[in-house]
Amino acid sequence: MGQQRRVTGAVSHCGGRLLQVAAAPTEGVSVALRILDDGAWLSVNDQRRVSVSELWRLHAPEFCDCPLVDFIAEGFTEVSADGRDVAVTTYGQCIACGESGVPGKLPVGYIREGEYRNYDRENVVIQPISNRQG
């Protein structure tokens, strides 16, 4: 590769590129989390793991009056880590009532033993992290 500089994403001097997941059982494990292509998808360790256009059920009473928000993910704006959870700040719309906006940080997966795992988003009710008790 000649003079090519590899972007290996070492935490030490990339500052903020890789996420140190503090609550991960394996100490020191880093997981690279990125939102790319105009918010089209979440990259985890350089693999596309969550894409826009998924339909999620949310428990988010502040977002709209529907008992369960029937939420289409239209765009991701941020990714964050809260404990072992990986959450995406997502712009979208409740397709039942039409309310649109950002319902909060929505957990889409988690880190276990240093590896990212998707939640079964089709079959769970997602609760924005800021709404959680305790």
Binding site: G16, L36, V52, E74, I95
Partner: protein, 609 residues
Amino acid sequence: MVDAGPDCLRAGLLGGCMPTDVEKWKSEIYGNEIREHLMEFAEDGWESIPEDEHDAWFERFKWWGLYHQRNGQESYFMMRIGTPNGVLEPGQTEVVAEIADEYARGPETNPEFGDGYVDWTTRQSIQLHWIKLEDIPDIFEKLEANGLSTQQACGDSWRNIVGNPMAGKAPEFVDALPVIQELNETFKGNDDHSNLPRKWKVSVTGSPDGSGQGDINDLALEPASKEIDGEEVRGFNVRVGGGLSRNEPRLARDIDVFVRPENAAEVAGGISALFREHGDREDRYNARIKFLVDEWGTEKMRRVLQEDFVDFELESAGEDIREQYTYNAGGEEHGDLIGVHEQRDGKYYVGLNVLVGRMGADDTLELADLANEYGSGEVRISQRQNVMITDVAEEDLDALLDEPLLEDYSPDPHPFMRGSVACTGTEFCSLSIVETKNRQVRYARWLKENVELPDGVEDFHIHLSGCTASCAQPQIADISLRGMKTRKDGEPVEALDIGLGGGLGENPQFADWVGQRVPADEVPGAIENLLATFEDNREGSETFREFIARHDEETLEEFIEPEETSYEDPYMHNTKMTWYPYAEDDDMDASPAPTDGDGNSIDATPADD
């Protein structure tokens, strides 16, 4: 809690304000130097790209016109070829057709378009799909040997420059093509302008019809005149900060600058440099210059341009000719360059309608042959995804019009066919929410067969975009369609939001989104009902755009009456969750991707899914 920005993690843990990952990658390797690495990866094969560097390299590859296809199609790329002002010189169309035929073939076929096809885009470029990394050196060699390039076709730099595709041939107030060529030569591969905060879309128009669509570009040069030292000088007025994406449409704003053609490169370069220095590199969502114009206002934009980026005294804006704009202006004049038109040299050009801009490789080759046989060999691409054969002698017109290819790509198409524009959609695109091109083909055919347009309506634009990125430019159509989801009988289905009344012209207007989440199979019925409402309530010879403008939003919402009809939609399921919407087994797990250079699968499935 640790937060990551739009495209990277911003580690509060590590402190300081960090550039986005994309900006860091760009600061390390970007622009021309990407090519060396791209070629090495191509030589060594898909698996030679380190797995933990995929994001970085795929972001960089865009600068060379390569966009990694969506989830389920790993290792395949969309390749965009930039053709300034949509001009394909003699011989180039044949080259594009041959490349599409040989390399743009995927593991499955599209039921409407088969395999191996060319997309003419809304920015007068060309897109090919299913390109394998390993084939790129051969493709580049063939393109470049014939004067074509993918350089800066995507990525954060000067994109393909657009304008009236017939610049240099059709009547013009000021000659635009030499300016476009100078800008292209100056800013393609120019290290000073190769790494901008975001994409940089430029339109240069010299014709009096407004067909350069300057209003929706980052930088627009529009025809104008100005008296300078007692002499009338023809040149361009400068507008900055237009664009349609992200639910934040903006019209380009007048910064009170007139530029002579010979100074266009210096002024355009000054504005590009201003964007380079002052655009937002910390938030890609806020990076386009339209947001800087929002923040600064036009007076500051002009002042900073004058003080810091241009070495001569800028002229104030000249007198524009916007009142002459007919292109997509809401009247009955087509303005779309379809059909037979006389050039200023006495020869003719023939504009052919390409439904949703997609043409098979065989047909593209035939197009090249016809251009050679009847014209100069040149073909031009319009921003309505159509093509023009130029330089046809009057005595050859009848024979050209009798050619069988023109039965499928008509110079006199039905309004529903000529008015259809569609983006790439979930077939290949990461952002799109719904299937688009095949659906719009089916819409146009059904509408043509089943719906009569009211008297006198010859021009009717329906644009279908899969998401808010707005690549099909939905906000400037009579009927704007944008991808969404809804539930029907309890099941999730693909749906569309419906907007009304958009268009360009002297007084451009963005569509008003008045119909929400209409199931995709009920959209043709909604259009049929809307047109009936228009016919019943129209005042005199009122145009559709005038009719829409006359009603308030609440009334327009009532005009949207979705209805099931005989139209059938095979793409109601969640096409984005398939690896390819038209595959017999479309389950994501059935994807053959990624594949090696021979198309053989390489197992790279994440462990937990």
